[in-house]
Protein backbone atom coordinates (compact mmCIF):
# COMPACT_ATOMS: atom_id res chain seq x y z
CA UNK A 1 0.00 0.00 0.00
CA UNK A 2 2.87 2.40 0.62
CA UNK A 3 3.72 2.71 -3.02
CA UNK A 4 0.16 3.40 -4.06
CA UNK A 5 0.93 6.67 -5.71
CA UNK A 6 2.85 4.84 -8.36
CA UNK A 7 0.53 1.93 -8.81
CA UNK A 8 0.34 1.35 -12.49
CA UNK A 9 -2.97 1.31 -14.18
CA UNK A 10 -3.08 -2.38 -14.67
CA UNK A 11 -0.99 -5.13 -13.37
CA UNK A 12 -1.85 -7.88 -15.66
CA UNK A 13 0.17 -10.78 -16.79
CA UNK A 14 -1.37 -10.70 -20.17
CA UNK A 15 0.40 -8.75 -22.80
CA UNK A 16 -1.32 -5.81 -24.18
CA UNK A 17 -1.99 -3.64 -21.22
CA UNK A 18 1.02 -2.21 -19.60
CA UNK A 19 1.94 1.15 -18.37
CA UNK A 20 4.96 3.00 -19.46
CA UNK A 21 4.22 5.79 -16.99
CA UNK A 22 4.05 8.24 -19.82
CA UNK A 23 1.35 9.15 -22.22
CA UNK A 24 1.86 7.50 -25.53
CA UNK A 25 0.27 9.54 -28.25
CA UNK A 26 0.55 6.86 -30.85
CA UNK A 27 -1.51 4.43 -28.82
CA UNK A 28 -4.71 3.71 -30.73
CA UNK A 29 -6.06 0.89 -28.65
CA UNK A 30 -6.73 2.91 -25.55
CA UNK A 31 -10.10 4.60 -25.11
CA UNK A 32 -9.47 6.22 -21.78
CA UNK A 33 -6.44 7.00 -19.67
CA UNK A 34 -6.18 8.77 -16.40
CA UNK A 35 -2.86 9.83 -14.93
CA UNK A 36 -2.71 10.70 -11.26
CA UNK A 37 -6.35 11.68 -11.23
CA UNK A 38 -7.47 13.17 -7.91
CA UNK A 39 -10.67 14.92 -6.93
CA UNK A 40 -11.18 17.22 -3.99
CA UNK A 41 -14.47 18.38 -2.54
CA UNK A 42 -13.56 21.56 -0.74
CA UNK A 43 -10.58 20.35 1.30
CA UNK A 44 -11.37 16.68 1.32
CA UNK A 45 -9.67 14.33 -1.09
CA UNK A 46 -12.29 12.01 -2.50
CA UNK A 47 -10.09 10.07 -4.90
CA UNK A 48 -6.34 9.98 -4.85
CA UNK A 49 -4.00 9.60 -7.80
CA UNK A 50 -5.95 7.15 -9.88
CA UNK A 51 -4.13 5.67 -12.88
CA UNK A 52 -6.29 3.62 -15.14
CA UNK A 53 -6.29 2.64 -18.76
CA UNK A 54 -9.31 1.24 -20.51
CA UNK A 55 -9.01 -0.44 -23.87
CA UNK A 56 -11.37 0.26 -26.69
CA UNK A 57 -14.42 -1.99 -26.97
CA UNK A 58 -13.98 -3.32 -23.51
CA UNK A 59 -16.13 -3.22 -20.45
CA UNK A 60 -14.36 -2.02 -17.33
CA UNK A 61 -16.14 -2.40 -14.04
CA UNK A 62 -15.39 -0.42 -10.92
CA UNK A 63 -16.22 -2.01 -7.61
CA UNK A 64 -15.69 -1.11 -4.01
CA UNK A 65 -17.57 -0.35 -0.82
CA UNK A 66 -19.83 2.70 -0.85
CA UNK A 67 -18.02 5.96 -0.34
CA UNK A 68 -14.84 4.62 -1.92
CA UNK A 69 -14.92 7.16 -4.74
CA UNK A 70 -16.26 4.99 -7.57
CA UNK A 71 -18.85 7.51 -8.70
CA UNK A 72 -16.53 10.43 -8.10
CA UNK A 73 -14.04 8.83 -10.45
CA UNK A 74 -16.66 8.14 -13.09
CA UNK A 75 -18.09 11.64 -12.96
CA UNK A 76 -14.68 13.23 -13.37
CA UNK A 77 -14.23 11.56 -16.75
CA UNK A 78 -16.91 13.67 -18.43
CA UNK A 79 -16.24 16.64 -16.14
CA UNK A 80 -19.61 16.33 -14.44
CA UNK A 81 -18.02 17.84 -11.32
CA UNK A 82 -18.22 21.12 -13.16
CA UNK A 83 -21.61 21.68 -11.53
CA UNK A 84 -20.68 20.56 -8.04
CA UNK A 85 -19.73 23.42 -5.76
CA UNK A 86 -16.30 23.03 -4.23
CA UNK A 87 -15.19 20.20 -6.52
CA UNK A 88 -11.72 20.30 -8.04
CA UNK A 89 -10.14 17.79 -10.36
CA UNK A 90 -6.37 17.19 -10.53
CA UNK A 91 -4.21 15.17 -12.90
CA UNK A 92 -4.71 14.24 -16.52
CA UNK A 93 -7.43 12.49 -18.43
CA UNK A 94 -7.06 11.36 -22.02
CA UNK A 95 -10.01 10.31 -24.08
CA UNK A 96 -8.88 8.63 -27.28
CA UNK A 97 -5.50 10.22 -26.90
CA UNK A 98 -6.82 13.71 -26.54
CA UNK A 99 -6.41 15.53 -23.30
CA UNK A 100 -9.87 16.46 -22.05
CA UNK A 101 -9.04 20.12 -22.00
CA UNK A 102 -8.13 20.02 -25.68
CA UNK A 103 -11.75 20.29 -26.60
CA UNK A 104 -14.61 22.07 -24.90
CA UNK A 105 -16.77 20.29 -22.38
CA UNK A 106 -19.77 20.05 -24.64
CA UNK A 107 -17.89 18.17 -27.36
CA UNK A 108 -16.27 15.94 -24.76
CA UNK A 109 -19.66 14.94 -23.41
CA UNK A 110 -20.93 14.12 -26.88
CA UNK A 111 -18.10 11.60 -27.07
CA UNK A 112 -18.47 10.37 -23.50
CA UNK A 113 -22.09 9.51 -22.72
CA UNK A 114 -23.42 8.78 -19.28
CA UNK A 115 -26.17 6.64 -17.78
CA UNK A 116 -27.15 7.47 -14.23
CA UNK A 117 -28.06 5.48 -11.17
CA UNK A 118 -31.70 6.51 -11.16
CA UNK A 119 -33.51 6.64 -14.48
CA UNK A 120 -33.81 10.34 -15.30
CA UNK A 121 -35.88 10.84 -18.44
CA UNK A 122 -36.84 14.45 -19.14
CA UNK A 123 -40.18 14.65 -17.36
CA UNK A 124 -41.82 17.12 -19.70
CA UNK A 125 -40.96 15.17 -22.84
CA UNK A 126 -42.53 12.20 -24.60
CA UNK A 127 -40.75 8.91 -25.14
CA UNK A 128 -39.97 9.95 -28.69
CA UNK A 129 -38.65 13.36 -27.70
CA UNK A 130 -36.47 11.85 -24.99
CA UNK A 131 -34.63 9.67 -27.48
CA UNK A 132 -34.34 12.51 -29.97
CA UNK A 133 -33.45 15.05 -27.25
CA UNK A 134 -29.70 14.89 -27.77
CA UNK A 135 -30.09 15.61 -31.48
CA UNK A 136 -32.79 18.23 -31.07
CA UNK A 137 -31.02 20.13 -28.33
CA UNK A 138 -27.86 20.15 -30.40
CA UNK A 139 -29.64 22.02 -33.12
CA UNK A 140 -30.50 19.29 -35.59
CA UNK A 141 -33.87 19.71 -37.33
CA UNK A 142 -34.43 16.71 -39.47
CA UNK A 143 -37.66 14.89 -38.85
CA UNK A 144 -36.75 11.78 -40.79
CA UNK A 145 -33.43 11.55 -38.98
CA UNK A 146 -35.31 11.76 -35.67
CA UNK A 147 -37.72 9.01 -36.73
CA UNK A 148 -34.86 6.81 -37.80
CA UNK A 149 -32.82 7.48 -34.66
CA UNK A 150 -35.76 6.83 -32.34
CA UNK A 151 -36.70 3.56 -33.98
CA UNK A 152 -33.12 2.32 -34.27
CA UNK A 153 -32.13 3.08 -30.71
CA UNK A 154 -35.34 1.90 -29.13
CA UNK A 155 -35.03 -1.32 -31.08
CA UNK A 156 -31.45 -1.65 -29.99
CA UNK A 157 -32.40 -1.27 -26.34
CA UNK A 158 -35.32 -3.68 -26.77
CA UNK A 159 -37.98 -1.08 -26.05
CA UNK A 160 -39.37 -0.59 -29.51
CA UNK A 161 -41.98 -3.33 -29.37
CA UNK A 162 -43.06 -2.24 -25.92
CA UNK A 163 -43.57 1.43 -26.73
CA UNK A 164 -43.99 1.80 -30.49
CA UNK A 165 -47.72 2.47 -30.13
CA UNK A 166 -47.31 5.20 -27.56
CA UNK A 167 -44.22 7.11 -28.57
CA UNK A 168 -46.00 10.37 -27.84
CA UNK A 169 -46.93 9.51 -24.28
CA UNK A 170 -44.84 11.00 -21.47
CA UNK A 171 -41.62 9.20 -20.68
CA UNK A 172 -42.40 9.16 -16.98
CA UNK A 173 -45.37 6.87 -17.67
CA UNK A 174 -42.93 4.01 -18.27
CA UNK A 175 -41.83 1.56 -15.60
CA UNK A 176 -38.46 2.05 -13.91
CA UNK A 177 -36.70 -0.59 -16.02
CA UNK A 178 -38.19 0.78 -19.22
CA UNK A 179 -37.18 4.30 -18.21
CA UNK A 180 -33.60 3.19 -17.70
CA UNK A 181 -33.50 1.52 -21.11
CA UNK A 182 -35.00 4.70 -22.54
CA UNK A 183 -32.18 6.66 -20.92
CA UNK A 184 -29.67 4.28 -22.49
CA UNK A 185 -31.34 4.75 -25.88
CA UNK A 186 -31.16 8.50 -25.34
CA UNK A 187 -27.46 8.24 -24.53
CA UNK A 188 -26.49 6.14 -27.55
CA UNK A 189 -28.63 8.28 -29.87
CA UNK A 190 -25.91 10.94 -29.83
CA UNK A 191 -23.37 8.27 -30.88
CA UNK A 192 -20.86 8.45 -28.04
CA UNK A 193 -17.61 6.50 -28.13
CA UNK A 194 -17.43 5.82 -24.43
CA UNK A 195 -20.40 5.20 -22.15
CA UNK A 196 -20.10 5.79 -18.43
CA UNK A 197 -22.61 3.93 -16.31
CA UNK A 198 -23.13 4.82 -12.67
CA UNK A 199 -24.78 1.82 -11.00
CA UNK A 200 -27.36 1.71 -13.78
CA UNK A 201 -29.27 -1.24 -12.38
CA UNK A 202 -29.22 -0.50 -8.67
CA UNK A 203 -32.72 0.94 -8.72
CA UNK A 204 -34.18 -1.84 -10.87
CA UNK A 205 -35.78 -5.26 -10.48
CA UNK A 206 -33.89 -8.45 -11.46
CA UNK A 207 -35.63 -8.87 -14.84
CA UNK A 208 -34.84 -5.33 -15.92
CA UNK A 209 -31.34 -5.76 -14.58
CA UNK A 210 -30.64 -8.80 -16.71
CA UNK A 211 -32.00 -7.02 -19.80
CA UNK A 212 -29.61 -4.16 -19.23
CA UNK A 213 -26.69 -6.49 -18.57
CA UNK A 214 -27.40 -8.15 -21.90
CA UNK A 215 -27.39 -4.76 -23.56
CA UNK A 216 -24.05 -3.90 -22.05
CA UNK A 217 -22.46 -7.11 -23.35
CA UNK A 218 -23.82 -6.35 -26.84
CA UNK A 219 -22.61 -2.79 -26.62
CA UNK A 220 -18.97 -3.89 -26.60
CA UNK A 221 -19.00 -4.12 -30.37
CA UNK A 222 -19.56 -0.40 -30.68
CA UNK A 223 -18.61 1.28 -27.47
CA UNK A 224 -16.18 1.30 -24.63
CA UNK A 225 -18.01 1.00 -21.34
CA UNK A 226 -16.99 1.95 -17.85
CA UNK A 227 -19.50 0.81 -15.29
CA UNK A 228 -19.64 1.45 -11.58
CA UNK A 229 -21.42 -1.28 -9.72
CA UNK A 230 -21.86 -2.28 -6.12
CA UNK A 231 -22.73 -5.76 -7.28
CA UNK A 232 -19.67 -7.98 -7.66
CA UNK A 233 -21.56 -10.70 -9.50
CA UNK A 234 -22.59 -8.12 -12.04
CA UNK A 235 -19.01 -7.05 -12.54
CA UNK A 236 -18.07 -10.71 -12.98
CA UNK A 237 -20.79 -11.30 -15.56
CA UNK A 238 -20.26 -8.35 -17.83
CA UNK A 239 -16.80 -6.87 -17.54
CA UNK A 240 -13.43 -7.61 -19.08
CA UNK A 241 -11.45 -5.67 -16.53
CA UNK A 242 -12.31 -4.77 -13.00
CA UNK A 243 -10.92 -2.05 -10.78
CA UNK A 244 -11.22 -2.26 -7.03
CA UNK A 245 -11.42 1.07 -5.22
CA UNK A 246 -10.98 1.46 -1.52
CA UNK A 247 -10.97 4.71 0.48
CA UNK A 248 -10.45 6.79 -2.62
CA UNK A 249 -7.56 4.74 -3.92
CA UNK A 250 -7.22 2.23 -6.71
CA UNK A 251 -6.16 -0.95 -4.99
CA UNK A 252 -6.09 -3.26 -7.94
CA UNK A 253 -6.96 -3.23 -11.60
CA UNK A 254 -6.84 -6.57 -13.35
CA UNK A 255 -8.63 -8.80 -15.75
CA UNK A 256 -11.97 -9.57 -14.18
CA UNK A 257 -11.34 -13.31 -14.12
CA UNK A 258 -8.08 -12.81 -12.32
CA UNK A 259 -9.34 -10.19 -9.88
CA UNK A 260 -12.07 -12.51 -8.67
CA UNK A 261 -10.11 -15.75 -8.64
CA UNK A 262 -6.56 -14.84 -7.92
CA UNK A 263 -6.25 -11.22 -6.86
CA UNK A 264 -2.88 -9.68 -6.45
CA UNK A 265 -3.69 -7.70 -3.34
CA UNK A 266 -4.76 -9.10 -0.02
CA UNK A 267 -7.30 -6.30 0.41
CA UNK A 268 -8.96 -7.26 -2.86
CA UNK A 269 -9.20 -10.82 -1.81
CA UNK A 270 -10.81 -9.87 1.47
CA UNK A 271 -13.31 -7.71 -0.35
CA UNK A 272 -14.28 -10.16 -3.09
CA UNK A 273 -14.62 -12.97 -0.59
CA UNK A 274 -16.93 -10.84 1.49
CA UNK A 275 -14.72 -10.34 4.52
CA UNK A 276 -15.66 -6.65 4.54
CA UNK A 277 -17.60 -4.09 2.54
Amino acid sequence: MENDTIITDTIDDSEDIHDSGKHDTADTKTALRTINLSVKFFDKLAIKNINIRVKKNNVAAIIGPSGCGKSTFLRSINLMHDLTPGAKVYGDIYVHNEHITDNNVVDLRKKVGMVFQKPNPFPTMSIYDNVAAGLKLNGIRNKSLFDETVEKNLTYTGLWDEVKDRLKSPAISLSGGQQQRLCIARTIAVKPEIILMDEPTSALDPVSTSKIEELIINFKKHYTIIIVTHNMQQAGRISDYTAFFYLGKLVEYSRTRRLFTNPREKLTEEYVTGKFG
Binding site: V106, D107, F116, F122, T124
Partner: protein, 291 residues
Protein backbone atom coordinates in the same frame (compact mmCIF):
# COMPACT_ATOMS: atom_id res chain seq x y z
CA UNK B 1 -62.91 5.15 40.19
CA UNK B 2 -62.76 6.95 43.46
CA UNK B 3 -59.80 4.95 44.49
CA UNK B 4 -57.79 5.75 41.41
CA UNK B 5 -58.69 9.36 41.69
CA UNK B 6 -57.44 9.40 45.22
CA UNK B 7 -54.35 7.48 44.37
CA UNK B 8 -53.42 9.55 41.37
CA UNK B 9 -54.96 12.78 42.44
CA UNK B 10 -53.88 15.48 40.13
CA UNK B 11 -51.91 18.17 41.83
CA UNK B 12 -53.53 21.56 41.57
CA UNK B 13 -51.02 22.91 39.14
CA UNK B 14 -51.65 20.10 36.68
CA UNK B 15 -55.32 20.95 36.70
CA UNK B 16 -54.36 24.54 36.08
CA UNK B 17 -52.05 23.54 33.27
CA UNK B 18 -54.83 21.57 31.63
CA UNK B 19 -57.15 24.54 31.93
CA UNK B 20 -54.56 26.86 30.40
CA UNK B 21 -54.09 24.31 27.66
CA UNK B 22 -57.79 24.28 26.78
CA UNK B 23 -58.15 28.05 26.97
CA UNK B 24 -55.17 28.71 24.74
CA UNK B 25 -56.25 26.20 22.15
CA UNK B 26 -59.74 27.70 22.09
CA UNK B 27 -58.18 31.14 21.65
CA UNK B 28 -56.19 29.90 18.68
CA UNK B 29 -59.35 28.53 17.10
CA UNK B 30 -61.05 31.89 17.69
CA UNK B 31 -58.07 33.63 16.06
CA UNK B 32 -58.56 31.39 13.05
CA UNK B 33 -62.20 32.36 12.85
CA UNK B 34 -61.73 36.10 13.25
CA UNK B 35 -59.07 36.08 10.55
CA UNK B 36 -61.21 34.57 7.86
CA UNK B 37 -64.36 36.40 8.94
CA UNK B 38 -63.41 39.74 7.31
CA UNK B 39 -62.38 37.87 4.19
CA UNK B 40 -65.70 36.12 3.88
CA UNK B 41 -67.48 39.37 4.68
CA UNK B 42 -65.54 41.33 2.05
CA UNK B 43 -66.00 38.57 -0.45
CA UNK B 44 -69.73 38.19 -0.01
CA UNK B 45 -70.37 41.90 0.32
CA UNK B 46 -68.45 42.66 -2.85
CA UNK B 47 -70.21 39.85 -4.67
CA UNK B 48 -73.61 40.99 -3.47
CA UNK B 49 -73.02 44.65 -4.32
CA UNK B 50 -71.11 44.01 -7.48
CA UNK B 51 -72.92 41.22 -9.20
CA UNK B 52 -76.16 43.18 -9.72
CA UNK B 53 -74.30 45.89 -11.60
CA UNK B 54 -72.18 43.48 -13.53
CA UNK B 55 -73.55 43.05 -17.01
CA UNK B 56 -72.36 43.23 -20.57
CA UNK B 57 -72.58 47.05 -20.46
CA UNK B 58 -69.93 47.11 -17.79
CA UNK B 59 -67.43 45.47 -20.09
CA UNK B 60 -68.26 47.13 -23.41
CA UNK B 61 -69.52 50.63 -22.58
CA UNK B 62 -67.74 53.83 -21.73
CA UNK B 63 -68.43 55.70 -18.50
CA UNK B 64 -71.46 58.01 -18.68
CA UNK B 65 -71.34 61.60 -17.43
CA UNK B 66 -72.64 62.29 -13.93
CA UNK B 67 -76.41 62.04 -13.72
CA UNK B 68 -76.85 59.59 -16.56
CA UNK B 69 -77.53 56.05 -15.43
CA UNK B 70 -75.65 53.09 -16.82
CA UNK B 71 -72.41 53.04 -18.70
CA UNK B 72 -69.44 50.81 -18.07
CA UNK B 73 -65.73 50.65 -17.58
CA UNK B 74 -64.61 49.41 -20.98
CA UNK B 75 -61.87 52.02 -21.20
CA UNK B 76 -60.57 51.15 -17.72
CA UNK B 77 -60.50 47.45 -18.47
CA UNK B 78 -58.61 47.99 -21.71
CA UNK B 79 -56.36 50.46 -19.91
CA UNK B 80 -55.55 47.93 -17.21
CA UNK B 81 -54.77 45.31 -19.84
CA UNK B 82 -52.40 47.71 -21.61
CA UNK B 83 -50.72 48.68 -18.34
CA UNK B 84 -50.26 45.06 -17.33
CA UNK B 85 -48.96 44.29 -20.80
CA UNK B 86 -46.29 46.97 -20.48
CA UNK B 87 -45.56 45.84 -16.94
CA UNK B 88 -45.14 42.23 -18.07
CA UNK B 89 -42.69 43.27 -20.78
CA UNK B 90 -40.50 44.68 -18.02
CA UNK B 91 -41.28 42.41 -15.08
CA UNK B 92 -41.21 39.00 -16.73
CA UNK B 93 -37.79 39.18 -18.44
CA UNK B 94 -36.07 40.81 -15.48
CA UNK B 95 -37.79 38.50 -12.98
CA UNK B 96 -37.24 35.26 -14.88
CA UNK B 97 -33.67 36.02 -15.91
CA UNK B 98 -32.55 37.09 -12.46
CA UNK B 99 -34.32 34.04 -11.02
CA UNK B 100 -32.34 31.89 -13.45
CA UNK B 101 -29.14 33.61 -12.41
CA UNK B 102 -29.76 32.98 -8.71
CA UNK B 103 -30.71 29.35 -9.19
CA UNK B 104 -28.32 28.24 -11.93
CA UNK B 105 -25.22 30.39 -11.88
CA UNK B 106 -24.71 32.26 -8.65
CA UNK B 107 -22.47 31.27 -5.80
CA UNK B 108 -23.80 31.32 -2.25
CA UNK B 109 -22.86 34.87 -1.47
CA UNK B 110 -24.06 36.47 -4.69
CA UNK B 111 -27.28 34.47 -4.44
CA UNK B 112 -27.79 35.79 -0.94
CA UNK B 113 -27.19 39.38 -1.99
CA UNK B 114 -29.58 39.21 -4.92
CA UNK B 115 -32.25 37.46 -2.88
CA UNK B 116 -31.87 40.05 -0.17
CA UNK B 117 -32.20 42.90 -2.66
CA UNK B 118 -35.27 41.17 -4.11
CA UNK B 119 -36.80 41.03 -0.64
CA UNK B 120 -36.03 44.70 -0.13
CA UNK B 121 -37.59 45.57 -3.47
CA UNK B 122 -40.73 43.67 -2.56
CA UNK B 123 -40.90 45.64 0.68
CA UNK B 124 -40.72 49.08 -0.92
CA UNK B 125 -44.19 50.66 -0.69
CA UNK B 126 -45.83 50.72 -4.09
CA UNK B 127 -46.49 54.44 -3.86
CA UNK B 128 -42.73 55.01 -3.81
CA UNK B 129 -42.37 53.03 -7.01
CA UNK B 130 -44.98 55.46 -8.34
CA UNK B 131 -42.82 58.44 -7.33
CA UNK B 132 -39.84 56.79 -8.98
CA UNK B 133 -41.72 56.26 -12.25
CA UNK B 134 -42.97 59.83 -12.03
CA UNK B 135 -39.48 61.22 -11.62
CA UNK B 136 -38.02 59.03 -14.33
CA UNK B 137 -40.72 59.08 -17.00
CA UNK B 138 -43.49 61.59 -16.31
CA UNK B 139 -41.10 64.48 -15.69
CA UNK B 140 -39.09 63.69 -18.80
CA UNK B 141 -42.12 63.17 -21.05
CA UNK B 142 -43.85 66.17 -19.52
CA UNK B 143 -47.10 64.24 -19.15
CA UNK B 144 -48.77 61.32 -17.42
CA UNK B 145 -48.70 58.20 -19.55
CA UNK B 146 -49.51 54.52 -19.81
CA UNK B 147 -45.78 53.96 -20.20
CA UNK B 148 -45.04 55.42 -16.77
CA UNK B 149 -47.85 53.42 -15.16
CA UNK B 150 -46.82 50.19 -16.86
CA UNK B 151 -43.20 50.79 -15.87
CA UNK B 152 -44.24 51.13 -12.22
CA UNK B 153 -46.33 47.94 -12.39
CA UNK B 154 -43.43 46.13 -14.05
CA UNK B 155 -41.09 46.98 -11.18
CA UNK B 156 -43.69 45.78 -8.71
CA UNK B 157 -43.96 42.45 -10.55
CA UNK B 158 -40.22 41.73 -10.52
CA UNK B 159 -39.72 40.40 -6.96
CA UNK B 160 -42.59 37.91 -7.13
CA UNK B 161 -41.42 36.54 -10.47
CA UNK B 162 -37.76 36.39 -9.42
CA UNK B 163 -38.63 34.46 -6.28
CA UNK B 164 -40.97 32.00 -7.96
CA UNK B 165 -38.56 31.36 -10.83
CA UNK B 166 -35.73 30.66 -8.41
CA UNK B 167 -37.85 28.41 -6.19
CA UNK B 168 -39.34 26.45 -9.08
CA UNK B 169 -35.93 25.93 -10.71
CA UNK B 170 -34.61 24.67 -7.37
CA UNK B 171 -37.35 22.03 -7.43
CA UNK B 172 -36.06 20.63 -10.72
CA UNK B 173 -33.88 17.66 -9.75
CA UNK B 174 -30.19 18.09 -10.52
CA UNK B 175 -30.21 14.67 -12.21
CA UNK B 176 -32.36 16.06 -15.02
CA UNK B 177 -29.80 18.77 -15.74
CA UNK B 178 -27.00 16.21 -15.59
CA UNK B 179 -28.82 13.97 -18.05
CA UNK B 180 -28.95 16.83 -20.50
CA UNK B 181 -25.33 17.89 -19.98
CA UNK B 182 -24.20 14.30 -20.40
CA UNK B 183 -25.77 14.30 -23.86
CA UNK B 184 -23.38 17.05 -24.85
CA UNK B 185 -26.01 19.73 -24.60
CA UNK B 186 -24.56 23.08 -23.70
CA UNK B 187 -25.26 24.59 -20.33
CA UNK B 188 -27.47 27.42 -21.53
CA UNK B 189 -29.64 25.10 -23.60
CA UNK B 190 -29.88 22.80 -20.61
CA UNK B 191 -31.06 25.70 -18.47
CA UNK B 192 -33.54 27.04 -21.01
CA UNK B 193 -34.86 23.92 -22.70
CA UNK B 194 -34.65 21.41 -19.86
CA UNK B 195 -34.67 23.12 -16.45
CA UNK B 196 -36.89 26.06 -17.35
CA UNK B 197 -39.30 23.90 -19.34
CA UNK B 198 -39.60 21.45 -16.46
CA UNK B 199 -40.29 24.31 -14.06
CA UNK B 200 -42.51 26.22 -16.47
CA UNK B 201 -45.91 25.45 -15.00
CA UNK B 202 -44.80 26.72 -11.60
CA UNK B 203 -43.17 29.80 -13.08
CA UNK B 204 -46.26 30.61 -15.11
CA UNK B 205 -48.43 30.47 -12.00
CA UNK B 206 -45.98 32.80 -10.28
CA UNK B 207 -46.27 35.22 -13.19
CA UNK B 208 -50.06 34.99 -12.92
CA UNK B 209 -49.81 35.85 -9.22
CA UNK B 210 -47.68 38.87 -10.04
CA UNK B 211 -50.20 39.94 -12.67
CA UNK B 212 -53.09 39.54 -10.23
CA UNK B 213 -51.29 41.75 -7.77
CA UNK B 214 -50.41 44.33 -10.40
CA UNK B 215 -53.99 44.40 -11.66
CA UNK B 216 -55.17 45.65 -8.27
CA UNK B 217 -52.41 48.18 -7.66
CA UNK B 218 -53.76 51.69 -7.40
CA UNK B 219 -51.27 53.86 -5.56
CA UNK B 220 -48.44 53.72 -8.11
CA UNK B 221 -50.84 54.62 -10.93
CA UNK B 222 -52.24 57.77 -9.31
CA UNK B 223 -49.58 60.03 -10.75
CA UNK B 224 -48.19 57.90 -13.55
CA UNK B 225 -51.09 56.48 -15.61
CA UNK B 226 -53.27 59.12 -13.94
CA UNK B 227 -56.59 57.82 -15.30
CA UNK B 228 -58.68 58.98 -18.20
CA UNK B 229 -62.41 59.12 -18.64
CA UNK B 230 -62.14 58.74 -22.39
CA UNK B 231 -61.09 55.97 -24.70
CA UNK B 232 -57.32 56.03 -24.88
CA UNK B 233 -54.92 53.34 -26.00
CA UNK B 234 -51.81 55.34 -26.88
CA UNK B 235 -49.00 54.47 -24.52
CA UNK B 236 -47.69 58.03 -24.31
CA UNK B 237 -51.01 59.37 -23.05
CA UNK B 238 -52.74 59.26 -19.67
CA UNK B 239 -54.74 56.07 -19.50
CA UNK B 240 -57.63 54.70 -17.44
CA UNK B 241 -57.18 51.70 -15.18
CA UNK B 242 -59.71 49.57 -13.37
CA UNK B 243 -58.46 50.24 -9.82
CA UNK B 244 -58.13 53.97 -10.51
CA UNK B 245 -61.69 54.04 -11.78
CA UNK B 246 -62.89 52.11 -8.74
CA UNK B 247 -61.11 54.59 -6.49
CA UNK B 248 -62.57 57.61 -8.27
CA UNK B 249 -66.07 56.16 -8.21
CA UNK B 250 -65.82 54.88 -4.64
CA UNK B 251 -65.05 58.29 -3.17
CA UNK B 252 -67.63 60.02 -5.33
CA UNK B 253 -71.02 60.98 -3.88
CA UNK B 254 -73.09 59.21 -6.56
CA UNK B 255 -75.02 56.05 -5.82
CA UNK B 256 -74.81 54.77 -9.40
CA UNK B 257 -71.05 55.19 -9.46
CA UNK B 258 -70.77 53.28 -6.22
CA UNK B 259 -72.61 50.36 -7.79
CA UNK B 260 -70.23 50.43 -10.73
CA UNK B 261 -67.27 50.60 -8.41
CA UNK B 262 -68.54 47.50 -6.61
CA UNK B 263 -68.85 45.76 -9.94
CA UNK B 264 -65.25 46.65 -10.70
CA UNK B 265 -64.18 45.47 -7.26
CA UNK B 266 -66.00 42.22 -7.86
CA UNK B 267 -64.12 41.71 -11.13
CA UNK B 268 -60.80 42.30 -9.35
CA UNK B 269 -61.63 39.95 -6.48
CA UNK B 270 -62.76 37.28 -8.89
CA UNK B 271 -59.49 37.63 -10.80
CA UNK B 272 -57.48 37.26 -7.60
CA UNK B 273 -59.55 34.31 -6.47
CA UNK B 274 -59.36 32.41 -9.75
CA UNK B 275 -55.64 32.97 -10.14
CA UNK B 276 -54.94 31.84 -6.60
CA UNK B 277 -57.07 28.78 -7.16
CA UNK B 278 -55.08 27.91 -10.27
CA UNK B 279 -51.84 28.42 -8.37
CA UNK B 280 -53.00 26.16 -5.57
CA UNK B 281 -53.98 23.47 -8.01
CA UNK B 282 -50.76 23.59 -9.99
CA UNK B 283 -48.42 23.69 -7.01
CA UNK B 284 -50.26 20.84 -5.34
CA UNK B 285 -49.80 18.72 -8.44
CA UNK B 286 -46.16 19.68 -8.44
CA UNK B 287 -45.60 18.45 -4.92
CA UNK B 288 -47.53 15.21 -5.34
CA UNK B 289 -45.57 14.60 -8.54
CA UNK B 290 -42.30 14.77 -6.66
CA UNK B 291 -43.16 12.15 -4.11
Amino acid sequence: MELTEKKFKMPGNIRRRKLVNSVMIILCVIAGIITILPLLYIFFYTTKSGITSLNLDFFINMPKPVGEEGGGMANAIVGSIILIGIGSLIGIPVGVMSGIYISEYSKNITAFIIKFVTDILSGIPSIIIGIFAYGLIVINMQRFSALAGGFALGILMIPTITKVTEEMLKLVPQSIREASLALGVSRWKTVLRIALTTASSGIITGILLAIARAAGETAPLLFTAFGNSFWQTEIDQPIAALPLQIFAYAISPYEDWHRQAWAGAFVLILLVFVINLIVRFVTRNKFSGNQ
